[in-house]
Symmetry: D2
Subunit: 379 residues, 4 copies
């Protein structure tokens, strides 16, 4: 992994995702340009300090000669460094997973493309929204013809987090994401607009052919655009709009897409990612859920849990395991506290639960008579 030092959200997301799949071991990295911070991160996450490198050349040189050297390089650094890092990795015959946008310029993007084709390595770009089951279901339904010809697309990735002049703190330089020198004035398109753009392409299988764009800045002093209103013409004559914004006050994540075809429409909203609304012509709309019988094989392949269990279900267990871990480190007296004071359920809760079951059974046998549920726990 290159980038993703302690404090980086996206680095931790990549690491968690790899652990969830249980198919990758993170064994080496350059976690920060600051080598000290990089070493610190490596230690925190269990990397052999000899495999926390100072730069990409060193990493490639040493890893490619090890019998257990890395096979895949994950690049989660700022946009402008994607090109040289990915280039070097491909050159060394390593697979690449890279954060979006691919590069800062089209020329660099085309170079990486040619390099990849020539080398036949695997190059993954983490437009992660295409990993959601219901996005894959949407793409499958378009391909199977459930919508007929696609006519209209409405996509938006409109966040509220930039509604205030968040980049200005006295005495601190403007962060790279708000500096037009480093990321270009069009960063709102590069950073979030490209997610909506990829979703349109992934779901409809169509390309955007022409755009008519209006970029604007709504926060005083801001040096980059923070809003983009783009009209679209797609292949086959379909039309639409893409709105990307950092000043959609009050919005959370704000990624949403609607596809209208001849015979039906699909609506997907990232704030409710496990449902897909399917609206056929002249019939009641249906709400498709992850895990329902009858979904496409593409959707089923990404489903880890049964119907009605949101992805967060695993996280709810992880929260408990986190607490169990804390308690074990503090070894021992947590579970003797009055149960409701304990943040996690213990044997005491188990006793109350069994008491409940037994008293329900007794009340039922007494034709619904009110029945006490008390239990006395002498500690």
């Amino acid at each position: 992994m290159i980038g993703g030092g302690i404090g980086s959200t996206i680095g931790e997301v990549h690491r968690s995702a790899m652990r969830l799949t249980d198919r990758f071991d993170l064994v080496a990295g350059i976690f920060s340009r600051n080598h000290k911070h990089s070493l610190h991160t490596g230690l925190q996450i269990g990397i052999d300090p000899n495999r926390t490198y100072a730069g990409i050349e060193e990493m490639i040189q040493l890893e490619t000669v090890r019998p257990d050297g890395v096979e895949l390089v994950v690049i989660v650094t700022p946009n402008e460094s994607h090109f040289p890092l990915a280039y070097a990795a491909i050159d060394a015959g390593l697979h690449v997973v890279c954060e979006k946008p691919l590069t800062a310029s089209l020329r660099d993007a085309l170079d990486l493309y040619k390099k990849t084709i020539a080398s036949r390595i695997v190059f993954g770009l983490t437009h992660n929204y295409s990993g959601y089951s219901m996005v894959r279901q949407a793409a499958a339904m378009v391909r199977e013809g459930s919508l007929g010809t696609v006519r209209l697309v409405q996509a938006e990735h409109a966040q509220g987090a930039g509604a205030l002049p968040v980049e200005f703190t006295e005495g601190i330089p403007v962060p790279w994401r708000s500096d037009p020198e480093q990321v270009g004035k069009e960063i709102v398109v590069a950073d979030i607009g490209t997610h909506a753009h990829h979703l349109i392409r992934f779901i409809t299988g169509q390309e955007v052919e022409e755009v008519s764009a209006d970029l604007s800045t709504h926060v005083k002093g801001r040096k980059v655009y923070d809003n983009a209103q783009i009209s679209l013409r797609l292949t086959n004559g379909s039309r639409g709009a893409l709105w990307a914004s950092r000043v959609a006050t009050g919005n959370e994540h704000g990624l949403r897409i609607r596809i209208f075809g001849e015979r039906a429409a699909l609506h997907w909203d990232h704030e409710d990612p496990e449902h897909l609304r399917f609206c056929p012509l002249d019939k009641p709309p249906l709400t498709l859920s992850k895990g329902q019988p009858g979904l496409s094989s593409a959707a089923q392949a990404t489903q880890r849990l049964r119907l009605g269990h949101p992805e967060g279900f695993i996280d709810s267990f992880a929260s408990l395991y986190h607490d169990f871990g804390d308690a074990i480190q503090d070894r021992g007296d947590r579970n003797s506290l009055p149960d409701l004071e304990s943040i996690f359920p213990t044997v005491v809760d188990g006793v109350y639960g069994v008491t409940f079951i037994e008293s329900v059974s007794r009340s039922h046998k007494a034709n619904g008579a009110w029945t006490e549920t008390s239990v006395s726990l002498d500690k």
Copy 2:
């Protein structure tokens, strides 16, 4: 881990949760009563075959003498075996994580309680719903007095999965969960009702004092109850109902709770777990979201991602990593396919993305003139 062989949903959930926290290593187990299946499971998930044991006694005997022996036993077996397994583990001084319900009888539950208190090990019971951020937020708000005195509780765990006689397949014995001999007729209460019961206690901090229960069976031939309608009287005079069902046709997971206090109410629904509806007296209702500023420290502690990123966000990355893994195993020619045929985004998508950014910028500079976005990729 005891139980959780390949094919067990809950075993895999526990393992995924442990990997997500990155604090536990699964090193030993008895994954099935069938030792062959147990060994097979162990190999699949990377357990040293010498540490896949035939029984609890053997496991304890050998693990407790190893310097790197297990510290924590995770029990995910059928209900009736929880007691002997947990008892043996505590006896050996090991921490325990156990699936609910704690035991099949109240006497056993109390025995485990006393044993735990005496031993001062950590005993965690996976009523996992209390691990959701917004459930912890709800509990914190009740404790802080945001609702005033709690007056009413309405809880339900009503699933649709048992609406058909799913347990009857010709020539196959009724599974343990539908056999009153093995699990008791009241299994609908033990299995899912206890989750709703624990949520009531966890959020309100009150105990159920009295119940008036009506159990019924709605599927012909079924030998256990599949519906429980229970009226509740709680401490402090609050009232309510708990409905547990396996025949709530069309429901998915169906766990939901509403708490009404003097000054406000809270609504939480497991099918939308990252929001909590807060309804104050005579004011507009608010929708609290995981990650919002101002949540309780208990809610913040379980939050892995920023506002607007559902827990499934990590899973969307995991889906891509899963595909990356497949592609790397097939080494090499995936990314030369036409991009939309590839299930995951590649360098080709990156090129299209950068093309889009550049054409948006050109259109804007030309005052919104329609601008082509095409790029030619000679392969």
Copy 3:
């Protein structure tokens, strides 16, 4: 009309409903026990003062001899007076529309029943929720077998308006609805519980056979019950619960019903009355909307507007007409004000609208060039 003086919400609702149907003329009444207030009301709503009567006997005596005498008596008085008023009207051969509950005692109710049967007049009871299109659709779907055998019912009418001790104002007697002497301690059941009870019967076609009830009071000093938790056993063995409450803090109107059958379920919520959720076994749930093709004839018969037009659509026009009426009374200078200051749209808004259409057309013809929309209005 008997009752419904100026200030009575329900009286005005009945009058508006009659005007909407355009089939009834309100020509006589006893609008209050206070004859002065009654006369005042009559004058306000355009009743001939000779036909505003002091009592039911006088009204019947004089109206039954007029050639244009009343045919229908509408009773919107407090519960305890329903019986004598309805009795007298039936006795005189007049049709009756009566607010619920029918009477204060079962004996009186049975008397009215026998009297009605004997007289063959039309007796309507305004359990108005059965007038909603989607409630009729639900009843039709159950009758047609879309759900299979009904197994479970969950109904609630739980309001928040009584969460505070609203009935106590210094120096003012407790209103009749909170006085157990006048309405019985069980008023929460009589007043709102009966609506949920009627909905269950209307939709399922089943009768409640047995109840197990728990009534409670949650506001200090209140003399009537303000919460009722009732377990139900219905004909054919179906089960369920009915919750009626005045202390469901933060709830608005709170009437909602769910019916679970063998093959599907239906959910209806009065706060979103024009939709009906239909959840078939193992298929995606559908949202039925008033006006959709394919609804039952019963639902179609109550539909005044096309799909997508909520009933409030007419009200939105009525709001404008109300403003038009005000402006005409103030005759004349409203529409010369700057348009946005006017509460209703005027010719000025029309000019801006036409300007918009024309500039859109010009921009489109200029291939999307940005085009001004200004118009100068010299007043």
Copy 4:
């Protein structure tokens, strides 16, 4: 009223709205260009046949000399006739209520404007969406500064009803609304786009200054545009988009607007018209409801019912009154039928309701014992 013959939806909506306000009497009209149909309509709705006229000149001539002549002319005819009809009415000193769009050309619109200003009559344009309480609330909140400076607007009126080639029926001429000769190719903007445009202006108090538009047709053979994607620049530098469509397959009415300001955003959706979502910066979003304490006086003035009672509440009573009317015409034997067969509640339902209340009371007094609710009705 001019236009609105039997079969016209909008004519009936205007008449119902007038009846609801109880301030207007419809006394004269030209209900169709076909005089026979006009007379028929007049008779059906109770108009004196002498006051159903053949043309506007005749109507004005005869009505203006009557002491009880019309004061207000309501124009609900096709777009192109609005101008001559309104012109004639204003000329005669009559108030005018006119359907949108005001006229077919900007020149005519300006003429009407000048004429109106000179005459000082009241001229109402039925952009009815501004009559909804929550739309008025939104406008009031913007004016009061709850949003700070408005920055972005997203409006859409996108219907699905034109997704099929509905205008083509063999042997029948294309209806006026699909004939570019009669209504202009831009009818999708004139017909529905203007509603979204008026909402933007009404709520924000800003004017649209510049547009960049793309019009398109998605149904084969259709001669008018059926989709309009318009980027907007508003006064004060705010930006946005307006999407009007007849081919948004699966949409119902599809009118919706979102306003984003410096400090908060507002979302309103016509398919849920009685709620308004208010999303402040960095705080949980609130759902404002018609009737809540604390709304603006503008919103309160249009509220006919208490909190939790949707506008359709009156309609639910109207449905019952409609059935009562039918039953009275059929005089008599309805209420002797088994109650559940009757479409409306009768005295029988009243008896069951009172039985229910009494048995609930008995069960409660018996500490929740199951209590029968049966009643025997000997007919």
